[in-house]
């Protein structure tokens, strides 16, 4: 019994890559904490501690409640005033930026994904590799080049962080909601385009190849077969990225677009930390709302 257990233990599947990686990761963690970037001394500094105590007990406390008895009406009046002044408008703006951005990203990805999918963007869509070698050499190369170009384009779109896109678009278009919308849309079009292309590549080839064999043209193949087959998966990714968009739309405001982040930054600059906390809480609320919408939509899609 023991001998066979020992043998099982000895012959358990092991991967050198995994072990090396784990060792390397452990070393990285030790290296990171010992790198000298992190100075814990200020945390023990009395002046800093006093500042922290002041921050927690006074500065984040809503203004009318400071040094006064806690009362709901006073808190309500304060929150209501903030909500009417900027909160409601910023909330709608943030949500609208996220929705418009992800919709544009989805549209862009739908247009680009078929050209990025290696199985579709060839001379003989969905045929086995050997057949793909046949046909007119010029057309074959043209498809190859188009495919490579679109794939490289998608990598480019998603490789540049949305903050860099936002910087650039703000400088180009001037202050409006468009820089935030387009920055999020461009970055997410790159991601959704790649995921969409993967979805198409994962479709079963034979039935689709049979359709081409029967004489279906490329547009017919796309609208009648590929799109309906991959749309559900595509929408799942769409809503997953929507959650991220809501989060980023809040934060992009800190670069100067009028979303919640703008008012967070504004309150911070004025040292009104109670107002800052109010807007951060509003941000958390719409993130929750976005997650809820996404979860419900994905549950509807999953339940066949």
């Amino acid at each position: 019994m023991n001998a066979s257990l020992a043998r099982l233990h000895r012959e358990r599947p092991r991967s050198r890559l995994v072990r090396l990686s784990l060792a390397l990761l452990a070393a990285l963690v030790v290296w990171a904490w010992c790198s000298g970037e992190f100075d814990f001394r200020p945390l023990g500094d009395p002046a800093r501690r006093e500042h922290l105590a002041q921050f927690v007990t006074v500065e984040v406390v809503p203004y009318p409640l400071r040094g006064a008895e806690f009362s709901w009406p006073a808190l309500g009046a304060w929150a209501g005033a903030l909500w009417r002044e900027h909160g409601a408008e910023a909330l709608v703006a943030t949500l609208s930026i996220a929705v418009l951005a992800i919709s544009l990203a989805g549209l862009g990805a739908l247009l680009l994904a078929p050209f990025a999918a290696r199985t579709l963007a060839t001379v003989h869509p969905f045929e086995q590799a050997c057949l793909a070698q046949q046909g007119h050499a010029g057309r074959r190369r043209a498809w190859q080049a188009l495919n490579a170009l679109v794939r490289a384009g998608l990598i480019f779109l998603r490789a540049i962080p949305e903050y860099v896109w936002a910087f650039l678009l703000l400088a180009m278009l001037g202050p409006s909601a468009w820089p935030a919308v387009l920055a999020l849309a461009i970055h997410n079009a790159g991601i959704l385009g790649k995921l969409g292309a993967e979805t198409i590549e994962n479709l079963e080839r034979k039935p689709l190849a049979a359709l081409t064999g029967l004489g279906a043209r490329r547009a017919q193949l796309w609208f009648a077969a590929v799109l309906p087959l991959s749309l559900s998966r595509f929408l799942l990714y769409f809503f997953y990225r929507f959650e991220t968009c809501v989060r980023e739309a809040t934060v992009l405001g800190m670069l100067g677009v009028v979303s919640l982040g703008y008012w967070i930054q504004d309150a911070r600059a004025k040292l009104f930390y109670d107002e800052m906390l109010f807007f951060v809480t509003l941000g958390a609320a719409i993130v929750l709302l976005g997650d809820l919408v996404s979860t419900v939509a994905r549950a509807l899609l999953r339940r066949a």
């Binding site: 290296w31 200020p42 945390l43 418009l100 180009m172 409006s176 799942l236 066949a304």
Partner: protein, 299 residues
Amino acid sequence: MRAEGVPLPRAGAARTPFTRRRLIVAAVVLAAALAAWALDASLVGLVPQAGGLELVRDFFARALRPAWSYEGEAPAGAAPLWVAALVAARRTLVFAVAGMSLALVFGAVLGFLGSRAWWEHEPAGGESRLARFLRRSVAPAVWSATRVVIVGMRSVHELLWAVLFLAAFGLNNVAAVVALSIPYGGTLAKVFSEMIDEAPRDAAQALRAAGARDLQVFAVGLVPRALPDMCAYAFYRFECAVRSSAILGFFGFPTLGYSISQAFENLHYGEVWTYLYALCALVIGIELWSGALRRRFVA
């Protein structure tokens, strides 16, 4: 960049009724139209302002010619540009690794506390009164409290945590790492608990039938079934953490984002591209490593 790691839909997804799917698509289109109306986003806003197009052209013109030395005045006593880029990339990695290591601790603890399987317990024989009290009233309370904490951690963006900590502690690199680790820890906890709950229960049931105690069942029967998926997901989040760590720089922390925003404000587009390529190299390197590992874990 990779964006998978999302739990993949089950095979049934392809059989979604078309009517419901059309309804969702229609709702999305309607929502987009409403959003455009609410933002008052007229197409006039898409016309570049004066000098806007030149700026974009200048920016992309430098894409293939990143700077090798400082454009304009080099800061006194500064290291060469490529060294500065390497240092910023190293800091980006250090922040990401430190943040992830904290997030893993949060994720493991909260993920276990937040999983149903951790609290589930079918008493085999007699149960003491204390044990029954714990199971009936304390366990659901702890479970719900954990879920609330996880949601709270997740719903505030790491940059907003960073801004809060900046206000509370002043500029300190530890604040950036903690800010990074909170939403990442929450997300890890959420996904870990779901993975543990969805892991096959066969081994756990066999162990329980053989008389193993609860902790043994959980640690030996349940967690190992979920561990490959958990590792793969944690590694995917590590990739994301590197990007987030770079972006923290846009708000004053000394990572690549700081260098990028500084160069951008000085209109030194060549330098921007140098730093962007450093970021790309870092992210791609980790993606390749992560991809190789994930194939090993999942296969």
